[in-house]
Symmetry: D3
Subunit: 68 residues, 6 copies
Amino acid sequence: MPYVNIKVTDEGVTREQKQKLIEGTTKLLVDVLNKEPKTTFVVIDEVKTDNWGIGYEMVTEIRKTQNE
Amino acid sequence: MPYVNIKVTDEGVTREQKQKLIEGTTKLLVDVLNKEPKTTFVVIDEVKTDNWGIGYEMVTEIRKTQNE
Amino acid sequence: MPYVNIKVTDEGVTREQKQKLIEGTTKLLVDVLNKEPKTTFVVIDEVKTDNWGIGYEMVTEIRKTQNE
Amino acid sequence: MPYVNIKVTDEGVTREQKQKLIEGTTKLLVDVLNKEPKTTFVVIDEVKTDNWGIGYEMVTEIRKTQNE
Amino acid sequence: MPYVNIKVTDEGVTREQKQKLIEGTTKLLVDVLNKEPKTTFVVIDEVKTDNWGIGYEMVTEIRKTQNE
Amino acid sequence: MPYVNIKVTDEGVTREQKQKLIEGTTKLLVDVLNKEPKTTFVVIDEVKTDNWGIGYEMVTEIRKTQNE
């Protein structure tokens, strides 16, 4: 009965990548804890880079510096 | 002082349905735990079907199979 | 496929009350959104009154004032 | 290693206000708990007023009454 | 900068299993989304079986039926 | 009507520190967004160091290395 919530920044996650996250997470819970996949939920939240901060800074600003 | 978070797939939940979820959840907490409605929060998250997985599969794919 | 998280203060919620919260929330999602109960999760978090604040104050302190 | 999630209604929070929330929260965790800012995350969720209820009512409706 | 929250029932998850969940989830985010492991958080919540409901029922009750 | 959830590792946060987190967070939301403190919730979760991972590792293990 696990519930997994994955929060990542909203920077172009593709449908194929989401599918891989769902499959990989579910497989992990089956392999490690012997959970039932039919009642394993994976919910992905894509958070705008303006709404995520780390080290006092918006990710939007961090990305600018990284790309300079 | 309860806080309730309801996550459902984003498949056309109407304003009237949201109102019913808010009322019903608040009433439940008042009835069962005698909580104060003025400080009872209900937050509804609508999650895209691509972002919700169950049983290794995206809900988007599950819906296709169900409608076949 | 809903997921509901109910956060309340840890002030002696009984097993019977938890059962009523689980049943009532699930019924609400079935009635309002026609959801499948078999994949409706309800998770209750009991939070210590020292760890919940409202209006600048710990609930622990608010309870003292209310009982005076 | 703190993770802070701030949920507010989606009513025109500006980029500058988000920056202040990120900075202020991070500073608080550094000052009070001596946490490392580089691994302090702040995630802001903006919730539509139709999706937030308090005292049995949608915030959308509460705002109408407040502005009358 | 991902944040992953894994909620499972509190039924004897071992330290080794937790380590595997942390490693596996982090690896998945590195492999699929090329995320930086140093800022990838995994938080595991163990929820008492009385506090988790599915299909109108407490997991505690579901386990009894399964073991009969 | 904000709701703030602060997750930190469970490493001896004192009552006084919790009070400061509640006050500081509430003040920030009042100052930056002009929110009403009476309906501002702050919930602190203390997570066991075995249950928090970063950079593939349990915080428990990271602390050992830091203290060597």
